[in-house]
């Protein structure tokens, strides 16, 4: 990849600055907006794959050991029936892909790239070349991850958490190169993510437009700033961990293998030291997106701007000292467990503050139920459920029982699907006009949102119930257990809902591609929004603005301000009596 990149680069040196060739514009582009689009396409493509893997898992749980429709061509030996090893591979890869190659590329990769320069008034990222490399390294990591499906022994099958020594010794799972490629891919992705996060942090610190003080930044920029700091500090821990795991597997080291004096719990400490900040890496950008979209369609300032920013900072600090709550029954010292329960309870407070502030934003508003707004409201309400179910796990005695059950599966999906994915949909519908210069279709948007919202809940809410009933996660066949027999009908119900949830995404795909080519041309500021990206043309040209960059005079959420005749007051509109005419 780097070789072809270098050739492409050499080619285009001659192309000059104004007329960039096809390759430099669409493939090896250093323009943050093109990189954002590339991350978006990559994430959406992987989402299809991750979703299909989820449906395969669900099929097996509802109708164990029956042929999965459409798989008879791939699993020829069994005629489409999943074997336990294949099943383990399916859920392992579902989670790995969704977390590392869907949510991270879309929220941090795509919207981080798109929003940061445009919303702080910069012409591009601080290091455009590094930005391009960040995408292509991540893309390479994605290809490595996909290649694992084709190697002998199958792909990684030790869970997305890849607990050692199951993951550290090939003979325990029968997976050889699949798990190695999993390690190599995540190692590569870690490098790509580091490039991105350095870029985000530098850009936000150094390249804000005149007047864009830190506390005039839109909350989505705050969220991406904090996410980038978490990425910078958390991902290297995973990167080191997967390297150590790979060494255990291939070079005979014993970091995690007790037979050679290693310590299995070391892997869990490394993994969750990364893994818990990772949860906030997945959710913080969505929180920022919701905080951005709610005021626009409430036509009123965000409630408690400073509390919102500081609660995100608080979450970022606390996220480092809560990770042990994943390990309450792992054999870690119970005294340590007690300490982690205290911090875990504390981290619920900033989340509660944010929820109440979102409600406060709705109070006395003038709510416009647009498609991005509906998705943001779904984010808020589903995040509430995900946050409340988290309190059960924070209480260590209760966690003894619900650890490793479907209650946890329900919780994580309320947070990362109900939270992050609804946040991603909200962002796509909201910024699509700016990103691609065309509006999305409203009817198709509703046709996508409502079934998704309904079937999301019908899929994941019952998982709380079967989890309370005791169903373990990651089991191949729940009907093997007598104490789970009476709730098998729920597994069937969940699978039907999941299939319908999958089908509900079709209007989104149609809408996305139809709007991309045939959507109505987007005006500069279709939502009457205040932030700077809406002062650039749709889509913004290379370097975003004409000869002069916008100047910022006020905070981002001055909706329905008495200072203005309209119900919005852009950040860059000069105050009355100040030099420079009002633009609106």
């Amino acid at each position: 990849m780097s070789a072809s990149s270098a050739t492409a680069h050499a080619h285009d040196v001659h192309a000059g600055h104004h007329e960039l060739g096809f390759v430099r514009t669409y493939i090896f582009s250093t323009d943050h907006k093109m990189i954002a689009r590339q991350f978006l396409f990559m994430g959406l493509f992987m989402m299809v794959l991750g979703g299909l893997l989820a449906l395969i898992v669900r099929w097996q749980l509802a109708w164990p050991e029956t042929a999965v429709p459409g798989l008879s061509g791939i699993l020829k030996e069994t005629g489409g029936i999943l074997e336990p090893g294949t099943y383990n591979m399916a859920f392992t890869m579902h989670a790995t892909i969704m977390i590392f190659f869907v949510i991270m590329p879309i929220l941090a990769g795509s919207f981080g790239n798109f929003c940061i320069p445009l919303m702080i008034g910069a012409r591009d990222m601080a290091f455009p070349l590094l930005n391009m490399l960040s995408f292509w390294v991540t893309f390479g990591a994605g290809l490595i991850m996909l290649s694992g499906f084709f190697v002998e022994g199958g792909h990684a099958a030790a869970g997305w958490t890849s607990y050692a020594p199951l993951s550290a010794v090939p003979s325990y799972t029968g997976v050889n190169w699949g798990q190695n490629l999993w390690c190599i891919s995540l190692f590569t992705m870690g490098i790509g993510s580091m490039m991105g996060s350095i870029n985000y942090i530098t850009t936000i610190i150094n390249m804000r437009a005149p007047g864009m003080r830190l506390f005039r930044m839109p909350l989505v920029i705050w969220s991406l700033f904090i996410t980038a700091i978490l990425l910078l500090l958390a991902l290297p821990v995973l990167t080191s961990g997967v390297a150590m795991l790979l060494f255990d597997r291939t070079l005979g080291t014993s970091w995690f293998r007790p037979s050679g004096g290693g310590e299995p719990l070391l892997w869990q400490h490394l993994f969750w030291y990364f893994g818990h900040p990772e949860v906030y890496i997945l959710i913080l950008p969505a929180m920022g997106i919701a905080s951005e979209i709610l005021p626009v369609f409430c036509r009123k300032p965000i409630f408690g701007y400073h509390a919102m920013a500081f609660s995100m900072i608080g979450i970022a600090f606390l996220s480092w000292i809560v990770y042990g709550h994943h390990m309450f029954v792992s054999g870690m010292s119970p005294a340590l467990g007690m300490a982690f329960t205290v911090t875990t309870m504390i981290i619920a407070v900033p989340s509660a503050i944010k929820t109440f502030n979102w409600l406060g934003t709705l109070w006395g508003a003038r709510i416009q139920f647009t498609v991005p707004m509906l998705n943001s409201l779904a984010f808020v309400s589903m995040f509430v459920i995900g946050g409340l179910s988290g309190i059960f796990m924070a209480s260590t005695p209760v966690d003894i029982y619900i650890q490793d059950t479907y209650f946890i599966v329900a919780h994580i999906h309320y947070v990362v699907f109900g939270g992050s994915i609804f946040g991603a949909f909200a962002a796509i519908y909201f910024w699509f006009p700016k990103m691609f210069g065309r509006m999305t279709n409203v009817a198709l948007g509703h046709l996508h949102f409502w079934p998704t919202f309904v079937f999301f809940n019908l899929t994941f809410f019952p998982m709380h119930i079967i989890g309370v009933g005791g169903q373990m996660r990651r089991i191949y066949n729940p009907t093997q257990y007598e104490f789970l027999q009476h709730q098998q009908h729920w597994n069937v119900f969940i699978t039907y809902s999941a299939i319908l949830l999958g089908i509900s995404q079709i209007p989104f795909v149609i809408n996305f591609f139809w709007s991309l080519f045939a959507g109505q041309k987007a005006p500069v500021n279709p939502w009457n929004s205040n932030t700077l990206e809406w002062t650039a043309p749709s889509p913004p040209p290379h370097l975003n603005w004409g000869p002069t960059l916008p100047t910022v005079y006020r905070g981002p959420y001055e909706y329905s301000s008495p200072e203005s005749r309209e119900d919005f007051l852009p950040q860059s509109a000069a105050p009355v009596g100040a030099p420079g005419a009002r633009r609106h």
């Binding site: 336990p84 383990n88 607990y163 199951l166 325990y172 037979s259 290693g262 299995p264 409430c298 009123k300 300032p301 409630f303 408690g304 701007y305 509390a307 029954v329 054999g331 119970p334 467990g337 329960t341 309870m345 407070v349 503050i353 109440f356 502030n357 409600l359 406060g360 709705l362 006395g364 003038r366 709510i367 509430v384 459920i385 409340l388 309190i391 059960f392 924070a394 209480s395 260590t396 005695p397 209760v398 003894i400 029982y401 650890q403 490793d404 309370v468 009933g469 005791g470 373990m472 990651r474 089991i475 191949y476 066949n477 093997q480 007598e482 104490f483 027999q485 009908h489 909706y559 301000s561």
Partner: protein
């Protein structure tokens, strides 16, 4: 359809866990209803209508302090209530003369009784596979080991879960309060045979246990017990766990 709830609890500390579970259930349930009712009311009341003007406000410090302090207090109380139960279950080890070793492996529970001399690692140790017999109302100490990957000792009705980590000896305990036969699954992904890795724990009355021990744990009893993999009789495998309710 109505048994959507926790399985029957038959252990001493299970009561503490269930009590906390229900407490959190009611707290989160009430919070959930309050938040959703408020949200829905706002969505209806403040929907965009002609002539409506949004309220221009940036926040309210008093309100914000209240909704920071109130959840914080609730969470502090929950922490204070969780800590004693946790400490009782995981940090203290009640005195007992009933000790068994459980050695987990892909994909079985290997249970060792110390035999007549009360010591492990001697010739009269008795081994069982996927099967444990204990007397009712007796503290059972489990010395948990694994010989390959991480497994997790889970008995839903006992509310016990503890990972078995290779290279470590982890002590856990339970005290079952009702005779019966309880399913004993592995709760941590341990490989392709993870699903179906399960044993049975038989809780006997003291008399029955004495009888069972005399037949199976004394020196005369054939050590073949270790080989005899208990296959459950196929007769009505369903509903048995439920029938106990």
């Amino acid at each position: 359809m109505l048994d959507w709830w926790l399985p029957e609890n038959v252990s001493t500390y299970g009561r503490d866990i269930d009590w906390l579970f229900h407490l959190i259930y009611y707290i989160t349930g009430v919070t959930f209803i309050l938040v959703f009712v408020t949200m829905l009311a706002f969505l209806v009341m403040y929907r965009d209508r002609p002539g409506r003007k949004a309220r221009y406000t940036h926040g309210n410090t008093t309100l914000e302090i209240v909704w920071t302090v109130v959840p914080a207090l609730i969470l502090v109380i929950l922490t204070l209530l969780s800590v004693p139960a946790w400490s009782r279950i995981k940090m203290t080890m009640p005195e007992t003369d009933f000790v068994v070793q459980v050695n987990a492996k892909q994909f079985n529970w290997q249970v060792t009784y110390p035999g007549a001399d009360g010591k492990f690692g001697t010739a009269d140790d008795k081994m069982l596979l996927d099967e444990m017999h204990v007397p009712v109302n007796k503290v059972v100490r489990v010395i948990l080991k694994s010989q390959d990957v991480i497994h997790s000792f889970f008995v839903p009705q006992f509310r016990i879960k503890q990972d078995a980590v290779p290279g470590r000896e982890i002590r856990a305990w339970f005290d079952a309060t009702k005779p019966g036969k309880y399913e004993w699954p592995c709760a941590e992904l341990c490989g392709f045979g993870h699903s179906g890795m399960r044993g049975w724990i038989y809780v006997h009355t003291p008399e029955e246990y004495g009888k069972w021990a005399a037949e199976n744990l004394t020196a005369e009893a054939a050590p073949a017990a270790a080989e005899a993999k208990p296959e459950e009789p196929k007769a009505e495998p369903k509903k048995e766990g439920k029938a106990k309710k």
